[in-house]
């Protein structure tokens, strides 16, 4: 027994005297140790006190006679259950009634090297990568920048459509910079209760500063920044108070980062446009750098496809990555990943060992056009749909300068009975007058084809007309693409400030475009009636026609695609 007492005393001295003293001495020289001491001093005190209580309890138990010890031990499980029950009740009551739990911050702190996304893994955003690399260098060489007298980087804003790899790039920056990475979504700051979001922002930055102190830097990544960074609204009703206070705190903390002079970099990511964000956040000194991470171009798409295809078994003889990349214009990296995953699923469903071109094509179609939804149609309605879609198809193939026919189908998808799927051959950031006119003609072609065959038309033209009308209207009202010489954007000024004469003249021009297009389409389809009937026959037989089949039929008649001629 005396040996046990001696052991307890030694343990007591080691745990409560030597260990804390040693840690304190180490912390005085080592910044990381000091950081941990600062960050976790409450926990350390709690653990120490708990251990002290345990030691005292053991000490007390040892002073008891074995009979009383046995009684105490026998009661202990029940007491532990009671204590646990009380603690649970207390926590539930506290979080329910005092809302102490609402300001809790579930931040995920990860060390840079543990993020494990390397620079080479980031593909398909070469431009953004180049800029981001500079940021990495700035994080690493902060002292050097300061020595030169340069201004250190505070914030980085990534803008762009969803699924383009903003989070991925942020993680790669953290890995390369080798600093801790705290990731949060903007939505996590949003609460009903005023002040809770602000409290979370404070806690987040406090934590980041502590980590930066120990590790030489820290990256805070706030995804969906627009949740807390939209333009502030000052409402007398106070409905926006919480968002405002959260954003104010973010602004204050970002300034605070400067004054505290700690290497904390804030990376924000948003799908919203820059215009919708509060200007105070965008000024230099807060988010100093802005990256626009756009959808990948053809070359980048090829690389992305190569990367994801390397993770699945593919039939190299049939899968032409260049061709697939061309077929997936405007697709984001996330969508490309999804295409490959979907293709693999389709291949597995078809009991194939490898993914082939057909699987990829089907995957693109499924993702782009949605799942097939067969509806029961009368023969006449089915034929009418075939004429309608064949009309679109012929006009698109023969008259459209930029778009390819991807597929024609009379199988219902979503709300439509049939579809002619098209897509540009390459990324185009503007549309020419000819392309817009061709768009209108393609839209009107379904109507013309129905009328040509049946002398009457169906309500299936509604969406076509809507699209065509909007295009024609924009051409005249906004883009100056009319023969009457109206130049300027008439939608930029209030309608009541435009004279009735001008409005009428503009509308006449819109109708004129419509009529010219209609005439062209009628002429074309009457001229190519044989091809029209052929496509109707093919569609009624096969229900779906791929690009290759469509191209082959046109070639039979000696026709070449207009976009291919350019």
């Amino acid at each position: 027994m005396e040996a046990i007492v001696q052991l307890v005393v030694i343990l007591f001295v080691v745990l409560f005297v030597l260990l804390p003293l040693g840690w304190w001495l180490v912390a005085l020289k080592n910044r990381k140790a000091m950081m941990y001491l600062r960050m976790y001093w409450i926990r350390i005190v709690i653990i120490d006190v708990t251990l002290l209580v345990v030691f005292l309890a053991i000490w007390g138990m040892m002073s008891l006679e074995s009979f009383y010890r046995s009684i105490t031990l026998a009661q202990m499980p029940l007491q532990l259950i009671m204590v646990a029950l009380n603690a649970i009740i207390f926590v539930v009551m506290y979080t329910t009634f005092l809302q102490g739990g609402l300001s809790k911050l579930s931040k995920s702190k990860i060390k840079g090297e543990e993020v494990n996304i390397h620079w080479d893994d980031v593909i398909g955003m070469e431009e953004a990568k180049r800029e981001a690399w500079e940021v990495v260098q700035l994080i690493k060489d902060r002292t050097k920048v300061k020595q030169i007298g340069g201004k250190v980087l505070r914030g980085l804003l990534m803008l762009g459509p969803p699924g383009c790899g903003k989070t991925y790039l942020a993680k790669a920056i953290a890995t390369e910079a080798g600093v801790p990475f705290i990731s949060m979504s903007g939505a996590e700051f949003v609460e009903t209760f005023v002040g809770v979001g602000a409290s979370r922002v404070r806690k987040l930055f406090k934590k980041a500063r502590e980590l930066a102190y120990g590790h030489g830097g820290c990256i805070i990544f706030i995804d969906e920044l627009d949740s807390i960074a939209r333009k502030r609204v000052f409402s007398v009703f106070g409905g926006t108070e919480e968002t405002n206070s959260t954003q104010n705190q973010l602004l204050a903390e970002m300034d605070g980062v400067q004054t505290a002079d700690q290497n904390v970099i804030i990376i924000g990511a948003t799908n919203a446009s820059e215009d919708s964000l509060d200007s105070a956040l965008l000024r230099p000194g807060r988010f100093d750098r802005k990256f626009y991470i756009d959808r990948p171009n053809l070359e980048e798409r090829e690389k992305i496809f190569q990367y994801y295809f390397s993770k699945v078994k593919i039939d190299k003889s049939s899968v032409d990555i260049k061709r697939i990349a061309r077929k997936s214009v405007y697709k984001t990296p996330a969508e490309i990943e999804n295409i490959v995953k979907e293709a693999a699923l389709i291949a597995a469903r078809d009991k194939k060992d490898m993914v082939d071109y057909k699987n990829v094509s089907e995957a693109i179609e499924r993702i782009q056009m949605g799942l097939k939804h067969r509806r029961h149609m009368t023969p006449r309605e089915r034929e009418m749909t075939a004429y309608h879609e064949s009309g679109h198809l012929i006009v698109l193939y023969l008259l459209h300068p930029t778009d390819d026919v991807f597929k024609a189908s009379i199988i219902g998808r979503k709300e439509s009975l049939g579809v002619v799927h098209r897509q540009p051959k390459e990324e185009l950031y503007t549309d020419s007058k000819e392309a817009l006119l061709a768009d209108i003609k393609v839209s009107l072609a379904g109507y013309v084809a129905e009328k040509l065959k049946y002398g009457t038309t169906s309500t299936g033209v509604a969406m076509d007309f809507k699209g065509a009308m909007m295009t024609a209207h924009s051409m005249v009202w906004r883009f100056g693409m009319n023969d009457a010489g109206f130049i300027g954007d008439y939608t930029a000024i209030p309608k009541e400030e435009i004279s009735e004469n001008i409005k009428e003249a503009l509308n006449v021009e819109t109708q004129k475009i419509f009529k010219i297009c209609l005439k062209d389409v009628e002429d074309l389809l009457m001229k190519e009636r044989e091809i029209l009937d052929r496509f109707v026959k093919e569609l009624l037989e096969k229900e779906e026609l791929d690009y290759d089949e469509i191209d082959a039929i046109f070639n039979e008649y000696g026709k070449r695609q207009l976009s291919a001629l350019k």
Partner: protein
């Protein structure tokens, strides 16, 4: 933490090897009382010499009572926190001025444990303790024999030899336990004899404590014994009780039966309380009027749990 507690909780505070010394040391260290300790079988005997055990009214003095209480507590503590297996302890307190008088207290260690764990009440705990103030049996015996031997002019050495050979033996019953001339006269207490004495004692208490019974009856003596002679094992309670006034019952019978009924109530409750099963019958005899009844173990249990009436038991013949 639990592991540590379990580890420390395993070792007994008073190991078997140091059991007697532990009691002596505890009494000395904590209460400055000198005791002697002896054990026989599963019984511990503690001799407690006191300077003023009784006053001139033959009542236990307050000081003696406190000392006895402290010794009881010390023995209980050691008995509960040891790995030695003992069932009973017996405290023999002497007044050193008049060693012919002794107080013998016998307790079951299981009762002590149950009391500390709150399994039985303080009142029940007190009733389960056997307390007897009596003339030291060995002293009485020795005096009588010495007188005879003196008359026979036997020399002292021969007297000592004679006494040692024929009269200084282990006591036959609990009433012969004692301490005389530096020697313990103790026996290994068994549960049935402890129960027999306890029932006899509690019958006396019952007829004193209950106001109605005390007004109606006078219990002059009660004695309990347990016989386990094959083929039968029987508890036998001999009472000498008389009615102080005669009350006619609803059926016109004499209330003298109430003595047997009350005695049976006490006996069945006590035996049931110890979950003792090793007996066949309980015999109750009122020596004052020759009243007798025999109850089997099963009927005694039924009577305790009020599943059978006394009048029905009376009619039963075993």
């Amino acid at each position: 933490m639990l592991l540590a507690f379990t580890l420390f909780g395993c070792a007994p505070s008073y190991p078997k090897a140091e059991f007697k010394e532990s009691i002596i040391k505890l009494c000395k260290d904590e209460y400055n009382i000198d005791v002697k300790v002896e054990t026989v079988g599963k019984t511990i005997a503690i001799y407690l010499p006191l300077s003023n055990l009784i006053d001139f009214t033959f009542a236990i003095t307050k000081e003696a009572s406190e000392k006895i209480g402290n010794v009881i507590l010390s023995v209980s503590r050691v008995a509960l926190s040891t790995d030695a297996k003992y069932d009973f302890y017996c405290i023999i307190a002497h007044d050193v001025r008049i060693p012919d008088i002794q107080i013998v207290i016998i307790k079951s260690i299981d009762d002590v444990k149950r009391f500390f764990l709150g399994d039985i009440s303080r009142n029940e705990y007190t009733k389960r303790m056997l307390i007897d103030i009596r003339m030291t049996p060995q002293a009485q015996k020795e005096k009588s024999i010495r007188e005879v031997l003196d008359k026979m002019v036997v020399d002292k050495k021969a007297q000592e030899q004679f006494l040692s050979e024929f009269f200084r033996n282990e006591p036959a019953g609990l009433n012969e336990i004692g301490y005389w001339n530096g020697k313990f006269y103790i026996k290994d207490v068994t549960l049935p004899e402890f129960l027999a004495d306890q029932v006899a004692s509690r019958i006396r208490i019952a007829f004193k404590e209950d106001k109605k019974l005390a007004e109606s009856f006078l219990v002059k003596s009660s004695k309990g014994s347990y016989s386990s002679q094959p083929p039968r094992s029987i508890f036998r309670f001999e009472i000498f009780a008389t009615a102080t006034k005669v009350v006619v019952g609803t059926k016109g019978e004499s209330n003298i039966d109430d003595i047997l009924e009350e005695s049976l109530k006490v006996a069945s409750a006590v035996i049931h309380g110890y979950r003792f099963k090793d007996y066949e019958y309980i015999d109750i005899i009122n020596q004052a009027n020759g009243g007798f009844m025999r109850v089997s173990q099963a009927d005694a249990e039924k009577f305790y749990s009020k599943k059978i009436k006394f009048s029905e038991l009376k009619k039963k013949v075993y």
